[in-house]
């Protein structure tokens, strides 16, 4: 039974990782037609810095991700504080209202944003992609920080206040440092959500103003070379790095290991 289970897990991991490994290997293959035998080459990576469209899209992606990360983390942290500290009427409704951006297919949210932003004059482009990405990331931030808040000792802030701290000072001097790992994890999560987001960006991008995933999608549909594998490999590497950091901060492995 045990052996069977382990074989099953190994096969599952093979299925999950095999295509991605092929994609990465092909980024290092010299042939523009993905032809075998494999000949190691860095030419596709070397071509990236000369590709103006991919460079511009990369700059946009990073810019949007940084802005999204800062805005969503600060706004989401405030909301998490209110939602997990106080009980008040309508709290359940407010918590439910966080779910649509996570639960509704992005196609529906993305087309709705396109309709509203275009119609209201907000328009498309970098700023509207940021508006969209922040809205997507806020619920994740609240969900990541909420448990962190609950595990804080409840009375340390009161202790600081009774020793003469103002509420604001108590928050910055006591609560925030204790909460720092959760906030950092949420920030990484928000950054990754934005960096990997495709559907919302696709509907809100303008000709000439795209993000990396939108650019990759365009290339896949109009004929591509291993250069797309190379930039995909870079993107994969970036998200893996972010998520390993996240797992470390959120103590994900430890949490699962204990159960």
């Amino acid at each position: 039974m045990t052996a069977l289970g382990r074989i099953w897990l190994a096969l599952l991991l093979g299925f999950l990782y095999l295509p991605v490994i092929v994609l990465v290997v092909m980024a290092f293959n010299a042939s523009p037609l993905y032809a075998l035998p494999f000949v190691f080459s860095l030419r596709w990576f070397a071509a990236l810095p000369t590709d103006e469209a991919i460079l511009a899209a990369t700059r946009n992606s990073v810019l949007i991700a940084v802005v999204t990360c800062v805005l969503a983390t600060s706004i989401g942290t405030l909301a998490a504080l209110a939602l997990s500290r106080n009980t008040f009427r309508g709290r359940t409704v407010l918590q439910l209202l966080l779910l649509p951006p996570i639960a509704i297919p992005w196609l529906i949210i993305g087309t709705a944003m396109l309709v509203f932003f275009y119609w209201s004059g907000i328009g498309r482009g970098l700023h509207s992609m940021i508006i969209g990405h922040v809205a997507l990331a806020i619920p994740y931030v609240v969900l990541v920080i909420g448990p962190g808040l609950h595990s804080l000792p409840e009375n340390v802030e009161d202790a600081a206040k009774s020793l003469g701290s103002t509420p604001l000072h108590a928050f910055f001097a006591v609560t925030l440092p204790l909460l720092a790992p959760s906030v950092a994890a949420a920030a990484l999560f928000a950054f990754a959500v934005s960096l990997d987001q495709f559907v919302i960006s696709y509907f809100l991008s303008e000709p000439g103003v795209t993000t990396l995933p939108v650019q990759i999608y365009g290339a896949i549909r109009s004929g591509f070379t291993p250069e797309i594998n190379a930039i995909s490999t870079v993107l994969l590497g970036a998200s893996l790095l972010l998520l390993l950091l996240f797992a470390r901060l959120a103590d994900f492995g430890g949490f699962i290991g204990r159960r």
Binding site: L16, V22, L23, I104, I108, I138, D196, I256
Partner: protein, 293 residues
């Protein structure tokens, strides 16, 4: 007078502080999510998009699309059957994996394996779908492997077919099923399993009467979490399905990016949203039924 009435006098009223903390998040979500959904509802009831000075009138015509354009019924069925195949295969592959994870590995290895299963999930979905074109195309990995193993066979192209879309979608959403199934399997009290075994339950009986029923909530939530986004998928069928890949998702995308029939696109989006909400309501009802005594 509440017991803490005196300390409160120094602070802003708690309700005001709470409102202040919540306002930025919910204002943002209103502008970026709730108003857009309302605007889309409005558009779906118009004869044409209200841009420029072209007159637009109210109509329910867009919601009759399935009656007026019967081919849409076939497209809708394609989307639903894609959802059913993907969900079913994910359950078939993911539930045993979750069981194996919970029962056959322990400690640090379990944490590491868990992370490995969930990790690709948070990498770019588009890139992972793209990676299947390397495997499934003619001359791709699978083609080459089959030719090597069975020299007579010419499997050719699997890409641009219905199975290719299903494979890509299963690959994309499998971690969800492992995750939700694992959580509910791990919460089963081992004493129940031991009790069943000591009473003589063989493995199939154990599966059918203990493990499967007790982990049903995980299977159900996994199923909904997978079925819903598959219903709205459009880039997966486009990349892996080619001409075959016409789904509700691609039809809706077309209305906004090619045909520029925004009212029709909005009505189709809202029909899909209704279906999605119905699924969540059903799931919530099923969960309540189970937790009720």
């Amino acid at each position: 007078m509440p017991p803490d009435g005196q300390t409160r006098s120094r602070l802003p009223p708690p309700s005001l502080a709470t409102a202040g903390l919540l306002a930025p998040a919910y204002l943002w979500m209103t502008i970026a999510v709730f108003l857009p959904l309302a605007a889309m509802l409005y558009f779906s009831l118009l004869t044409r998009a209200p841009f420029g000075n072209r007159p637009a009138a109210f109509t329910l015509e867009n919601y009759l699309a399935f009656v007026r354009r019967p081919y849409l019924l076939r497209v809708a069925w394609t989307s639903i059957s894609l959802g059913l195949w993907t969900t079913g295969l994910c359950a078939l592959l993911g539930w045993p994996a979750a069981l194996a994870l919970a029962r056959t590995v322990g400690g640090r290895a379990r944490g590491a394996l868990f992370l490995l299963i969930v990790l690709p999930f948070w990498t770019n979905g588009l890139v992972r779908i793209f990676s299947w074109t390397m495997v499934l195309s003619e001359g791709g990995l699978l083609d080459q492997a089959v030719r090597l193993a069975f020299p007579g066979l010419r499997p050719g192209e699997i890409l641009y077919s219905y199975p290719a879309i299903v494979i890509g979608l299963v690959h994309a959403y499998l971690p969800y099923m492992v995750l939700t199934s694992y959580v509910s399997i791990a919460s089963i009290n081992p004493a129940i399993i031991e009790a069943a075994q000591s009473l003589g339950a063989r493995v199939p009986v154990l599966f059918a009467t203990v493990l499967l029923p007790l982990s049903l909530p995980g299977l159900l939530s996994g199923a909904v979490l997978i079925f819903v986004p598959v219903l709205g998928s459009f880039m997966e069928p486009r990349i892996l399905g080619g001409r075959v890949g016409v789904t509700m998702g691609t039809v809706i995308e077309d209305q906004f990016t090619q045909a520029f029939n925004w009212p029709l696109g909005a009505a189709l989006s809202f029909t899909m949203l209704a279906l999605v909400l119905a699924m969540f309501a059903l799931l919530a009802a099923a969960m309540r039924l189970r937790t009720a005594p």
